[in-house]
Assembly symmetry: C2
């Protein structure tokens, strides 16, 4: 991190207030050009000084060390790493070429836990499926020696809701293709951009299924492939993917605290994940989220010691299967959490407040809604928040959860690609995230009562 | 090409008129959603069925065969290839990594005619120059064993005028660095995007200078490198570039004609280049340009046989040094040209008409201005057109030249990158180009008099 980090932290006190006592100045509560120096310092630092930090690798370990130093430098207490083992997969060569009828190279990237080809690759006919369901309906054995291709194209949505449905091509598609005997599978990138930058991401192999080579094709290449397929001739591809399994290596969850004044109250957990895919630098996924979570904790502390402890959880090994989230929940099963929320959707403006306690604690929900009203945030009491990938511990404990929904309209242009770099983080939007988180965390960390509320039926 | 090409050509006659007798319907002379099926068929076909077509390679030869078949299928006469030899360079491996103080991979691509490293690459300290002039001012020998880096960042402009000035980093920078003893050179991509897709392009080695490894860094990587350099520590890079020289191979200029009724009149030459860089598919550079030139000739012919012959020139080996343009001028030095214009700047809307004969033939300039007035085109009689890269023959003959200036605001986002793909061509903007070219070519091909006009001084 920069040598000037203390000076920046001190300076930030003189900046536009991002405290939970918002002043409603400016549009959406922030003046034009608002900037949060601390949050920026984190995301600028980790992308510049660490960059890619794939789960279970030395890069992720360097990121943990870097982050723990940053947290200590910024005054966090109880900075620690809780290690856990994972099965680690690393990328190798990745090359693909249409070899017939129209030879030309195409751009692919291996999906996480993809099987490998030989160094010479495979050469096989491509069989086109419009959707994952179409692949599922293919006759058994019909794919023997062939490469399945799923072309289903996701759309950009503000809430990112298309990702779950369309993402089945990546998560389930390879397992289905393997079960039907395919030699490999190529999917259209789960992404909304038109760049020659394919989107990686983990795939799930069902129990007992041997992984096959599985890769994402960039959207322009998928368009091109589909134009070739539409001409009606047999299209064949050469595919080289040489990822490797490193076996068991260590990842870790980094945590740190702003210690509250009342140790009897369960903590407020602010979560993100520290690992990133190897092909980008983890700026929007999820450097920004960690910057938001950590800075919000510091901004609450600036207003005075909170009642409850605020703990930040920088989970390890999220991308390759939520290893850190599960490990953390298991290790802390006997430690009740007061409430948790997570940032893992870039740095777009927060536009909606959701909780899982609006019915059981409407008064608290109302106070949260008021705290963020000036930031352009819609209270959505009818939506039941379920939290993000790193909040297993909250779900396992059936504990209170808040979702501060970010605008993800452009998130899937960049998600899991080489294009996930610092220039994609808008400083003013990052500052709005910190301000909203600070407002919400400030209310919750100073809440003396049970956040879940009385278990009473509330008339609507 | 598609098997349906004849059907499309026939169908196109029923589409909105794009003839030189424009009807001024709709905004800018075209109805919303206007589409030119012939032009689209060319650019769709060559990107899908050929793709990259690097000068002097078998891919460029395949592109010539494909194009000649397309031209014959569309009714052109005298379809031919005029071969010429070039010195051919092909890309190899390209990998780069910051190795100190913050190890992480960065994305580079070799510049055309770059020297090679060994397969193991070079490891060297980076010396930062803000501009090419700064590099020029570096003391002799000061770069021995080091990698020069030029960070000068070009801006997007509508007329593309920044390219010439900022492009010196690519064209001259490597030669200067080599003369000062550098082990290699890295430049910020000559481009206006924020994608991890570096921009290639040819570099010029001065006589007697031994080429050194020379690569472009993507803009986000250049930003990252500069953040590292700004921290004040020595930054070192590992660079692997293994391009090769194939020696002399053959390229060729493809030409074809719409034969005019008066063989005594010098022809109208419509030019573009057929080769492309190897990392993209040559959609905007210059598949679109060839589509526009060829289709305009056909659209003029649809109105009846023109007076002058219209010849299309699909030049070979433009990207690697204007080999085709020079060869064509030399081979046809004794054949006077009537007028020439070229399309080699994407498919953005044409917004300005320029010629080099507005003073000597103001009446003809005025008729051209009227012919395109409805298409949202500004007549610029004060600008002296000098033509594009493939118009050497016009410049060498001091012949009439027209420039139909396209909007290039976003051209340098894509130029010479992997992102140069079909999805970047807007069909309606392509149709506007064809319409404007048809209007201008129609007037000129039916002009019985000398296009240059009487050599008289015109009062302004
Ligand atoms: Zn994430
Ligand atoms: Zn992710
Ligand atoms: Zn060009
Ligand atoms: Zn070019």
């Amino acid at each position: 991190m920069k040598k000037t980090v203390f000076a920046l932290a001190a300076l930030s006190l003189a900046l536009p207030a991002t405290s939970f006592a918002q002043d409603n100045n400016g549009r959406y509560g922030l003046p034009p050009g608002a900037h949060d120096e601390i949050a920026w310092d984190f995301v600028e630092g980790i992308t510049t000084e660490i960059g890619p930090r794939l789960a279970g690798t030395v890069d992720e370990a360097r990121a943990r060390e870097w982050t723990m130093e940053w947290l200590r430098n910024h005054g966090f207490a109880n900075v620690m790493n809780e290690p856990f083992p994972i099965q680690t997969w690393v990328r190798g060569e990745e090359q693909a070429r249409i070899i017939a009828p129209f030879p030309q190279p195409v751009v692919v990237t291996a999906l996480g836990y993809s099987g490998a080809t030989s160094a010479q690759g495979i050469r096989a006919e491509i069989v086109h499926f419009a959707t994952t369901d179409e692949l599922r309906a293919a006759p058994e054995g019909s794919l023997a020696g062939k490469i399945a291709y799923i072309g289903h194209a996701m759309r950009a949505t503000q809430d990112g809701s298309h990702y779950g449905y369309f993402g089945s091509a990546r998560r389930q598609g390879p397992g289905i293709a393997a079960q039907k005997g395919a030699a490999g599978i190529i999917i259209r990138s789960i992404g909304t951009d038109d760049d020659r930058l394919p989107h990686t991401g983990a795939t799930n192999w069902p129990e007992g299924v041997t992984p096959i080579p599985a890769a994402a094709l960039s959207n322009p290449d998928a368009d091109n492939l589909e134009r070739m397929l539409a001409r009606g001739e047999t299209v064949a591809m050469e595919l080289v993917l040489t990822p490797r399994h490193l076996g068991e290596t260590m990842s870790g969850n980094v945590t740190a605290e702003i210690v509250g004044s009342d140790a009897s109250l369960p903590p407020v957990l602010l979560a993100c994940h520290l690992d990133s895919w190897d092909i980008g630098t983890g700026a929007i996924d999820d450097g920004a989220g960690c910057a938001i979570a950590a800075t919000a904790a510091l901004r609450v502390a600036e207003e005075g010691q909170p009642l409850r402890t605020i703990r930040v959880l920088f989970a390890g090994a999220e991308e390759t299967g939520l290893w850190g989230s599960r490990a953390y929940s298991a290790a802390h099963a006997d430690e009740p959490m007061g409430v948790g929320f997570e940032s893992d959707f870039g740095a777009g403006l927060i536009w909606r407040l959701e909780t899982n306690f609006s019915r059981t604690n409407p008064a608290l929900f109302s106070r949260l809604a008021q705290a963020v009203a000036g930031y352009g945030v819609l209270p959505a009491p009818q939506i039941v928040a379920s939290g993000g990938a790193d909040l297993n511990i909250l779900r396992d404990q059936q504990a209170p959860i808040v979702d501060l929904q970010q605008d993800g309209s452009r998130y899937f242009d960049l998600h899991h690609t080489a294009n996930d770099t610092l220039d994609k983080v808008d400083p003013t939007e990052l500052a709005q995230n910190v301000a909203v988180w600070t407002a919400v965390a400030g209310v919750l960390a100073n809440e003396p009562g049970d956040i879940r509320g009385a278990d009473i039926i509330v008339e609507e």
